[in-house]
């Protein structure tokens, strides 16, 4: 055991008199946890292996060395083989990847992708740039979905009652069912499927229903991400759905809609939103986002004005909005607003702003909201001139006669279902609790389940269930429609690993086709869509090459708003009572990572921290700080930080969460509680998708299952819930312990436009505002006026760097790489984190190790809250002891910034981390001996250490050492990128600027030019090399390239006046710089802040003398900033 240093006991608090010295820290640090942390020098687990002390370790090692000498097995030359193909494969060049267009289907949408395959195994997915609305971006889920293909827990065979079935037996079985029910016209047969946008499936369902008209076809999705068609049907008289175009919108109002993440088409929305948000010069316009929401979503974190409001009160809010826009509607809508307290000034100012931007304003509402809200939103968009300008309406292709899950349940109860075919989905896990699906499914005589995993649904009654192994989409032929209706192909990259079937194959066989071939089925649909007389081969070739079917997007239809249509919807609506402490509102949300639970067995997603809570491997019941106080949960904070209240209790870096029981309508679940600033006071947010019991090794037991609380009547929001403390505790793996920037200048923010009274603080007045903040604001540049203009090479050789013995690099390469990250458009979606993980073979470490702070992600997304209240009196003021109820959120992707004068390099005893000629701070893994000095000396804390052999050892037997299993399952080996070393235990790693992409890009260019007779052309054109995070970023916030080229995108980005280096005053000269964040609040709004909260905190901390003058800045003087006027502001003591 490490020797403990006994710190002298601090004197009792009472005896402290006289001036305060630093010693008084100890006095304040009286909590046992803090004491223990002090004694240990390093956080628990960061310094030693558990269970083995140094002496024991030395004994063991001595013994193993002695034994190792006996065999001398290491001295033999391992014989390895080169195994070329027997028959040449067309188009395959060993060592070069091939790219194929495919798409990831998800509910009623799809993400067009390009799959990178290495000799036939897909390793990485990128967005398909041919599909313009996404511009080559891919989402978090799409990036991670390649790992699902190689999931060792997938169903490996078709089984019936536990016995394996051959493919021929399955075909016979399906043929028998088809024949049997053809005789009864389908009576007795029921099919349940998840939603799909596949035109082929729609065609086959139509065929099936024509053949078996009495069969029951039902569709069920546990969550909805598209607005209800009923609303459009009522007010427009047509079945349409809105497709917002955020790029054209100057003013956006989101009513509980997380359009940047949870809603359908979020990739296109995010991209469009960023287009309207990006500001490169001070002349550029910037959009403004109003968000009204109950939770704290990524969309809310981007808001310029955010109103916290319970989801059940959104109807009242929307009605008030309509009244403000169109006062004539008051007579009808006034009753809806009864009893709901809303700030009329907020609504009035917001409405005026929207009206001032007629034709460029946009209102969107969350899909989970009731039809009447959407009807009113359709009306608002019509009045604001949005229809046809910022929102278009697309026809909805309805699957005729698809019944709901409830109707199917009724049929099963009625005994009319003899054979139930469940295609995908997982109803036994996620059906509404009141249906008692498991019992229903058990009562059916024959169940055929098609699914990738033998999951909860397949396990309901295994003896009577036939499980058909499903093919992953990367193994399937198929098709899908994106959110705008464009038909995209789903193309297989590899033969089904476990002989899986596609859904359309199963459907075709049930429809009586004996020779069902997925490719033929898709080709028939696509050529049908392409029009009569099209050449099948040519159409398919083009379709598969481009990855989109040109011109197949839905054509917008023109709509006419008919207010009388809305009346019927509104007539039945009564305003809901405001939630209170004893009458809580529960809002069920789709999880950002595991979605509705379908991705629960994906280790990359499980380990990825939630974008807002930063909890990995778990979900939590999210409650507001107000509710936490009411419930008597009062976490403290570390005493050495300025903002001393934490949003959770942390024990040695682990979130020690209280387990509460949440009951709603007589049903109860229990789960850990996490306090989430920014929530509506009495709304409880419960993410779905966790607590799986039959997901697989990764997903089983992660988090708690919230589905048992959901009933048919309260699928998305329920009222009348109660929370009760169980007294138990649960440790959560939270990757960001502290929420406050502490008044530091890490993220530099400004308002876009000046307030009514110009003060020189806004971006428009001073685009170089980033230099007004931080150390740089009152010191001359480290490099001096001339140094700033030098090339990296000149800087490296001419500007003295002290008398260091360390030989610093000369930067004499043909390129100098650099990166710029635009904090103004970053939405914090985490897609870059997982893209990096997939590209760079980054392992997962499991919950236990994340709790020890050993997560391996090369990029982390820092999320800070600020409320403008922290006090200059660093350890005293009241503001430091409050958890903000309504904070501003700032997000920052942080990864190795590739310092030109890297502090990590000078401390490495073995030169394992050094610079290359082109400015990349490299890691030579085979040199690294694991001293971890570099990580200690890194000011950005971006280095990651392999405490264990994550790749070769099973995560549940890490501590068994040599006694544990060794070796990576072959399936997981297939997922690795062959261009990147798989790191072993004991080496440090970190962002390499995707050096494999850089080197391969350079070589590809040089080979091309040399073969074309232009060998001197060695500089890679801008945009050819894209690093993984840059490529997938939906908002284009990350730009990478050659900073020697003045016209490159990265040089232009770095030339923006709001570009700054984080911790630049350290003179480490980082190559990655950040563009400051802008907020665009409306000066007429009651919650207008003349200065972003983080700047207020900065000023209060760093310029306490000028503190008194800050009255003009509005903080402190005005209560209630940013808070819902219906509720008191963040005042903790109110």
């Amino acid at each position: 055991m490490k020797r403990k240093i006994e710190h002298p006991a601090p004197p009792a608090a009472e005896s402290l008199t006289g001036p305060k010295y630093w010693r008084s820290l100890d006095e304040l640090a009286g909590t046992p946890g803090f004491r223990a942390q002090l004694e240990r020098e390093f956080p628990e687990g960061a310094a030693e292996l558990d269970g083995v002390d140094r002496r024991g370790f030395m004994k063991l090692m001595a013994a193993s060395f002695a034994l190792g000498g006996v065999g001398l097995s290491g001295c033999r030359r391992p014989e390895k083989f080169i195994l070329p193909y027997g028959k040449s494969v067309e188009g395959v060049i060993p060592g070069l990847p091939s790219y194929y267009a495919t798409a990831m289907p998800l509910r009623q949408g799809a993400i067009p992708l390009l799959a990178e395959t290495h000799q036939g195994r897909p390793t990485k997915l990128e967005g398909n740039p041919t599909y313009a609305p996404h511009g080559g971006a891919a989402s978090l889920l799409a990036q991670a979905s390649v790992l699902d293909l190689y999931d060792p827990d997938r169903a490996r065979a078709h089984t019936r009652g536990g016995k394996a079935l051959s493919a021929a037996e399955v075909a016979t079985l399906l043929g028998e069912i088809a024949a049997k029910y053809a005789a009864t016209q389908g009576a007795g047969l029921a099919l349940l499927a998840d939603e799909s946008s596949s035109p082929t499936r729609a065609r086959l369902v139509k065929e099936l229903r024509a053949k078996l008209p009495r069969a029951l076809w039902s569709e069920y999705e546990p969550v909805t991400d598209q607005p209800p068609v009923a609303a459009a049907q009522a007010v427009f008289g047509q079945a349409v759905r809105p497709l917002p175009d955020f790029a054209k919108a100057r003013r956006i109002l989101s009513i509980d809609a997380d359009f940047l993440q949870a809603e359908a088409g979020s990739l296109a929305s995010a991209r469009g939103f960023a287009q309207g948000r990006r500001v490169n010069r001070k002349e550029d316009p910037m959009n403004r986002l109003y968000v009204v929401e109950s939770g704290m979503s990524l969309t809310g974190s981007m808001a310029d004005h955010r109103l916290r409001l319970a989801t059940s009160q959104m109807t009242a809010f929307t009605a008030s909005l309509v009244i403000a826009v169109y006062p004539d509607s008051a007579s009808v809508l006034e009753p809806l607003t009864q009893g709901v307290k809303l700030d009329p000034k907020w609504i009035q100012a917001c409405v005026e702003d929207l009206q001032a931007h007629r034709g460029a304003a946009l209102v969107v509402a969350g899909s989970h909201l009731p039809a009447e809200v959407h009807a009113m939103v359709h009306g608002l968009n019509s009045i604001l001139g949005a229809a046809g300008a910022t929102v278009s309406y697309l026809p909805v292709e309805s699957t005729p006669g698809a019944t709901s899950l409830s109707a199917l349940a009724a049929a099963i109860k009625g005994g009319s279902v003899k054979t139930l075919v469940i295609l995908g989905g997982n109803p036994a896990y996620n059906a509404p609790a009141d249906l008692d699906w498991a019992a229903l499914q058990k009562s059916v005589g024959e169940v055929i389940r098609w699914g990738t995993h033998v999951d909860e649904t397949s396990g309901v009654n295994p003896a009577a269930t036939t499980h058909l192994a499903a093919a992953h989409y990367l193994e399937s032929w198929g098709d899908a429609r994106t959110v705008d209706g464009t038909v995209v192909p789903v193309q297989p990259m590899i033969l089904p690993l476990f002989g899986g079937l596609t859904q359309i194959e199963v459907l075709a066989r049930l429809a009586g086709q004996t020779e069902a071939d997925s490719y033929q089925l898709v080709a028939a649909t696509v050529t049908g869509l392409a029009g009569a007389g099209a050449d099948v081969a040519r159409v398919m070739e083009r379709f598969l090459h481009d990855g989109v079917l040109a011109g197949s997007a839905h054509r917008p239809v023109s709509v006419r708003f008919n207010a009388s249509g809305a009346q019927s919807l509104l007539a039945a609506v009564r305003p809901a009572a405001a939630p209170t402490k004893d009458n809580l509102e529960v809002r069920f949300v789709v999880d950002a990572k595991v979605d509705d639970g379908r991705f629960a067995n994906n280790g990359w997603l499980q380990e990825c921290p939630d974008p807002i809570t930063k909890i990995s491997w778990d979900n939590a019941i999210l409650i507001s700080p107000r509710l936490a106080r009411d419930l008597g949960i009062d976490p403290k904070g570390s005493l050495i930080q300025v903002a001393r209240k934490e949003n959770a209790e942390f024990t040695m870096g682990k979130e020690n969460a209280r387990v509460f029981e949440l009951s709603l309508g007589g049903r109860t679940i229990s789960g850990p509680v996490h306090i989430q600033p920014g929530l509506a006071n009495y709304t409880v947010i419960v993410p779905l998708g966790y607590g799986r019991t039959a997901a697989g090794h990764v997903g089983n037991g992660a988090g708690f299952n919230a589905y048992p609380l959901r009933t048919t009547g309260a699928m998305h929001v329920g009222l009348g819930a109660k929370l009760r403390d169980t007294g138990k505790r649960l440790l959560l793996a939270n990757t960001q312990e502290h929420w406050s920037m502490e008044g530091r200048d890490i993220i530099r923010e400004a308002n876009y436009e000046p307030a009514t009274k110009p003060d020189g603080n806004s971006y428009r007045e001073n685009p170089g505002y980033v230099r007004k903040v931080g150390m740089e604001s009152h010191t001359p540049s480290n490099l001096g006026e001339y140094g700033e203009k030098m090339t990296p090479q000149e800087r490296a050789t001419k500007i003295p760097r002290g008398n260091s013995l360390y030989q610093t690099p000369q930067f004499d390469g043909h390129h100098q790489w650099g990166m710029s990250i635009d904090l103004n458009t970053c939405i914090g979606c985490n897609a870059c984190v997982v893209a990096c993980q997939a590209e760079n073979n980054i392992p997962i470490v499991g919950k236990d190790q994340v709790m020890r702070g050993r997560e391996m992600h090369w990029i982390r997304l820092d999320r800070y809250y600020s409320s403008g209240t922290i006090d200059a009196e660093a350890f005293g003021g009241e503001g430091n002891r409050e958890l903000p109820e309504d904070p501003q959120v700032s997000l920052q992707p942080m990864t190795c910034v590739h310092c030109e004068l890297a502090p990590c390099e000078v401390v490495c005893p073995v030169n394992a981390t050094v610079h290359d000629e082109e400015g990349i701070n490299t890691m030579a893994y085979n040199r690294c001996i694991g001293t971890r000095y570099c990580a200690n000396n890194c000011p950005y804390k971006v280095r990651r250490f392999n405490f264990f052999d994550w790749n070769q050892r099973r995560l549940d037997s890490l501590y068994l050492g040599p006694a544990g299993d060794y070796g990576m399952p072959e399936l997981l080996q297939m997922a690795k990128n062959p261009e990147v070393t798989v790191r072993m235990r004991g080496v440090m790693e970190k962002c390499t600027y995707c050096v494999q992409r850089v080197q391969n890009g350079k070589i590809r260019h040089k080979v091309k030019t040399a073969q074309a007779g232009r060998p001197g052309d060695v500089v890679v054109p801008d945009g050819t090399i894209k690093v993984a995070c840059e490529q997938t970023c939906p908002v284009g916030a990350i730009v990478f390239g050659n900073i020697l080229d003045k016209d490159s995108a990265v040089s232009r980005a770095k030339a923006r006046e709001q570009d700054y280096a984080v911790l630049g005053y350290l003179n480490v000269r980082p190559r990655t710089t950040y563009s400051g964040k802008l907020r665009n609040p409306n000066p007429r709004m009651p919650d207008f802040q003349p200065l972003p909260f983080s700047r207020v905190e900065y000023a209060r901390k760093n310029e306490p003398a000028a503190h008194g003058d800050h009255g003009a800045h509005g903080h402190g003087a005005k209560p209630g900033h940013g808070a819902a006027p219906a509720t008191p502001s963040h005042g903790g003591k109110s």
Binding site: F81, L83, G86, I93, L96, V914, T981
Partner: protein, 219 residues
């Protein structure tokens, strides 16, 4: 008590030091020679499943390297030919040779012929063939005169020092690009004063700047 250590023991510390220095010197020299690729790798000539003779195919038949190693100028990996490539000729020539049985079987079954890998770089080193052969570095620099070998033998250590020798002074190793696949050609630098000038000009015009830092080969 005084006789416990004889007088000669006074020399002992010095003798021990000298002894240790000698032993350490021998050990260092031994490791440096016997445990580096110069000794462990050079000369490795394993028995291949098919006794393929490069000498015969290049010198008698006149095949270019790229007939079989067809992607060497495109890919990082210089491909070993598929059995189908062999069968291009051997479906007509020597169709019944028992030595070619593994190739015929491989072609018929689609299973690979297990060629023994000779020129192995470590897993953490990423060598790129295309980057070298397109820039005037001939096959012979690393592989030796394969065109004269009946059995392929490991000729160069292929250690990091070997790589760096050339990366630090590329002008001394480059050939005229048209001579890259001609293993009997001479380096430019070995062609007298004019050759040396041509090599320098080549280096300048082609902007040769071979990486000398880790990221060039280690990822």
């Amino acid at each position: 008590m005084s006789k416990l250590f004889p007088k000669s023991a006074n020399q002992l510390p010095l003798q021990i030091l000298i002894y240790l220095a000698v032993v350490a010197g021998i050990a260092t020299a031994g490791v440096n020679y016997y445990m580096t690729p110069k000794y462990t790798r050079v000369g490795y000539a394993p028995v291949q499943p098919v006794p393929f003779s490069h000498a015969k195919h290049v010198q008698e038949v006149g095949l270019d390297c790229r007939y079989c190693h067809s992607h060497v100028d495109k890919s990082a990996h210089s491909n070993v030919p598929t059995s189908q490539t062999c069968m291009n000729c051997h479906s007509i020539l020597k169709t019944n040779s028992p030595l070619l049985a593994p190739v015929r079987e491989s072609y018929a079954q689609g299973t690979p012929v297990p060629w023994v890998w000779i020129h192995q770089t470590p897993d953490y080193a990423y060598f790129n063939h295309a980057a070298h052969v397109n820039k005037g570095i001939s096959c012979v620099e690393c592989h030796g005169k394969v065109n004269e070998m009946d059995t392929v033998t490991h000729m160069q250590p292929l250690s990091m020092a070997f790589c760096l020798e050339c990366h630090r002074d590329p002008a001394s190793r480059i050939r005229d690009p048209k001579d890259v696949y001609n293993l009997d050609s001479a380096r430019l630098a070995d062609q007298g004063e004019a050759g040396r000038k041509a090599a320098e000009a080549f280096k300048h015009d082609w902007k040769l700047l071979p990486p000398q830092s880790c990221s060039g080969c280690h990822r």
